[in-house]
């Protein structure tokens, strides 16, 4: 039983570290891209944006979220219940796949 608990905690820790690493990578060279077909317009992304970007409107209208104010903090990506948002490498800073937009 104890072994199970430890392995469960280990998994959680690994996931947290993984997320933390992804977030730090993102801060350096990523932007938030969306897949509009997954969005149900619930507004959780907009509600949680610390700088007040209407993320949902960007998703629906297909305009990039590469807003000059976006901190790529990952709040919207982490909280979207539908997996609509993700980080993608920004071509400005690093070579990578092109943003597919909404």
């Amino acid at each position: 039983m104890r072994a199970m608990t430890r392995s469960a905690n280990g998994g959680m820790l690994a996931r947290l570290l993984h997320r933390d690493r992804r977030q730090r990578e993102a801060l350096v060279a990523a932007l938030v891209v969306a897949e509009a077909s997954r969005c149900v317009e619930c507004g959780i992304c907009t509600y949680n944006c610390p700088v007040g970007i209407d993320v949902r409107a960007h998703v629906r209208l297909g305009t990039p979220i590469a807003d000059s104010h976006c901190l790529t903090c990952g709040s919207c990506v982490a909280r979207c219940p539908r997996g609509t948002l993700r980080f993608e490498a920004s071509s400005v800073f690093a070579p990578g796949p092109k943003a597919s937009g909404g």
Binding site: R38, E41, C42, G43, I44, Y47, P81, R82, T84, R86
Partner: protein
Amino acid sequence: MTQRYVIIGNGPAGATAAETIRRLDSAADVEIVGDEGVPFYSRPGLAYLLNGTVPEKLLFSRSDREYASLGVRRTVGRVSRIEPTHHRVVVADGRTLAYDRLLIAVGARALRPDLPGIDLDGVVTLDKLEDARRIIRLARSARQACVVGGGITALELAEGLAARRVETHYLMRGERYWASVLDPRESELVEGRLAEEDIQVHRGVEVRAVIGHRGRVAAVELQDGSILPCELLAVAVGIQPRVELAREAGLETGRGVWTDPMLQTSDPDVFAAGDVAEVLDPVTGRRVCDSLWSSANDQGRAAGASLCGAGTPYQRPAPLNVTRIGGITTTLIGSIGGGGREDDLVSLARGDSGAWRERLDAFAVVADSGADQLRLLLGTDRITGAVVMGDQTLSRPLQHLIRERVDISAVRDRLAEHPGDLGKLVDTLGPGLGAR
């Protein structure tokens, strides 16, 4: 001559159709008539309003100002009948709206089982904003609540009530959750999380009657005669497309309003889209109903173009939903039948697709790593469906592989043996698929 388009229903199908019409015909007269007094809002978002993760004002995603700038009129009224021969609809308050082309996008309503006491105050369903507001109000004073039904909405109700600190009992008629769609292990994962959220799960029980006190719910009586006290009973046993208007107008209907590939009904000037429509599945050739936000948007777009005479046949993609059930992010794509009996749902619920119950000529392989699970339905040369629970890395590539019917014969044997290897194989199946 200015074309006059009337759309009944202010949900995603209706609103997207209106946007599409405006894009194709800048001079058209476009009017949406809906029976709710509030502007357009996110129906799936009601679950998040219930569990407290989003405030109500954030749900209104397409404002009246946006409608006005598109030149779309939104009027409030309950349509009492459609008169196809006169090309007009009649609103309950006596107004008539003339149309050249009409779209029926009135959605579906939650079913109420035929039980003694079902009309008591405190029996709730989750159809619209007004229902969510009522549930939140009732949850303030309710100590105990019972939830019945299978599928996504029933769980959203249970989790919402539990989050509001109501002692919540989830009553399942069958032995496991959503057996027709999920496999036993997937049901178990969800049920395990419900226990962690302090939701008490009861298996193999059925409500025989709702017991009231002074017109309000006081308890439910179960099949075995036992009594479970509760001040609130939430019901999510399935939905029924609102076909009455179409049927009374003489249009052909089945479970939903029948449509052809252009989403045209049996009347050439009347179209249907969204939860109310029964559409042709190009894979099976059968008519199906979906109750999905993305399907409603897709159909609204297709119907809008057809209304303007610029339509192309609606290509129904493999149905997809991404949702949190029991707090676990879950993606359902394509045909995934869980093999179990349908005990808790009449047939279809919200956020649901009839296609998920199908299992084409395919067999299931499962990669299980504790909290995460991946199930693939392997056909002879393609993946016909998938369930991704927990880690969602593979959900996007799978969406592409299934919807585009990508040939996987080169890696099929390996997938059959080690489905978890899909992540390593996606790049061989299509460029860029493995990208995060």
